[in-house]
Amino acid sequence: MNLSSNLQASNWTFLAEHRAEILGATLDHLTLVVIAMLIAVMIAVPLGMFIVQRPALRTIALGIASIFQTIPSLALFGFLIPIPFIGGIGKRTAIVALVLYALLPILRNTYVGLTGIDPAVLEAAEAMGMTRAQILFRVRFPLALAVILAGIRTATIITIGIATIAAAIGAGGLGTFIFRGVALVNDSLILAGAIPAALLALFADFFLGLLERRLKVS
């Protein structure tokens, strides 16, 4: 009992003493996640809009995205390293891998959101003389926004998690502490990476969830 509370106390002291480094790593981590998410959203949302009325492409696009999601993350990093231009050791490879992981939840939710519209609404839109583009941008998209955001939320949480593993290929971030802590059998070091990573995921989940509820149209 005494021992464990000592241990905890020493952990907190460690975290407090290294807060500048931890904050730096957290910002690195966040940068990785934000860049990857921006790219993933810019790819997956337009792609989802594009495949709505193209069933053949939908199968291919969702299929490819699911393959990336199925590959274990460390293996995906491994595959990317030898690839010229996008590969190698460092942040760039990590971002590519994170983007590939984030694609599926966003793409799937964009597609589901855009196609899950009340048929009566779509029927009225078509019969009142809206063009396909008008229906997509003025009806489907605003009504799908909450579902799309739910996909972005899932993707963000996955990305925050996988970004910790990206430290293995030299991308920096909070995973650096965890890997180093494991190697040195140092609990404080492990927690210095694990606690901020967990908090980051919880905060992202909470705030994106809040935004999602505000966008929901009943």
Binding site: M128, M130, Q134
Partner: protein, 260 residues
């Protein structure tokens, strides 16, 4: 700014030996051999059981479906030759669940076609107010509400206002009062019947309710399995000697005399 409605006021709809099939294997015949002329200002009710092809006929008029055989002429021009967007903006459309846009206010819903037609804001606002009053909704109370804040009957009123907003000469209605409770339904039927007489538009109204057909129609066309089996003004309709007509009159549950 486009001030003219897409269709001129002299609108007639004409089906010329129209069939519509769905290309499954084997092909499914939805309607066949339909010939029908709907003169300007008529309130035509398409009556029939579920699956008799009523809704298909409506969708053939506004070009959502194109016929497999024959042609539908709206205002003298075949639907296949119309720019489908122009055609539809000149035809009002009301459906059972109203199909209001949940992310638009009542005002924005009613303003849909005027907005698509790029009317100026003042004219649109004036028209929206006029339309809401026409369907018995106080604009000050309802304009800024969302569809979820309306009752079923109010939603359907907004649906009618939206369909009439750009003053289309033709109005298509697909069981618009079908999902309402009986009291609200009767209320809306009565009001709409008076409104329709005042507006003088060409109306094609789909229903499976003979009572509703008798109230609203200047002519009733009865469909059975994709074919027209009877066509008569309401007074004469009840006296027709056809098994499907008798099946419908029997559905009233009272003798024809009780309705007169």
């Amino acid at each position: 700014m486009n001030t003219k409605p897409a269709l001129s006021a002299d609108s007639t709809i004409e089906f010329r030996d129209v069939s519509f099939h769905i290309n499954d294997i084997p092909a499914r015949v939805i309607v066949s051999g339909i010939s029908l002329r709907i003169p300007h200002g008529e309130s035509l009710v398409l009556l029939g059981r579920s699956g008799s092809g009523k809704t298909t006929l409506l969708r053939l008029i506004n070009g959502i479906l194109l016929p497999t055989k024959g042609e539908i002429r709206v205002q003298g021009r075949a639907t296949s030759e119309w720019d489908s967007i122009r055609l539809r903006r000149g035809i009002g459309y009301v459906i059972q669940d109203a199909g209001l846009f949940p992310h638009f206010t009542v005002e924005e819903n009613v303003a849909l076609v005027p907005t698509l037609e790029k009317w100026d804001a003042a004219r649109t606002a004036e028209r929206v107010e006029e339309m809401l009053q026409l369907v018995g909704l106080d604009p000050r109370e309802y304009a800024r509400r969302h569809p979820r804040e309306l009752s079923g009957g109010e939603r359907q009123r907004v649906g009618v206002a939206r369909a009439l907003a750009a003053d289309p000469p033709i109005l298509l209605m697909d069981e618009p009062f079908g999902a309402l409770d009986p009291v609200t339904r009767a209320e809306l039927q009565r009001e709409f019947s008076a409104l329709a007489r005042r507006l003088g538009k060409t109306i094609v109204f789909v229903t499976h309710d003979l009572r509703e057909a008798l109230l609203l129609a200047s002519r009733i066309v009865l469909l059975e399995a994709g074919r027209i089996v009877a066509s008569a003004p309401p007074q004469e309709f009840l006296a027709l000697d056809h098994p499907e007509v008798r099946a419908f009159t029997a559905s009233l549950g009272v003798g024809p005399g009780a309705l007169a």
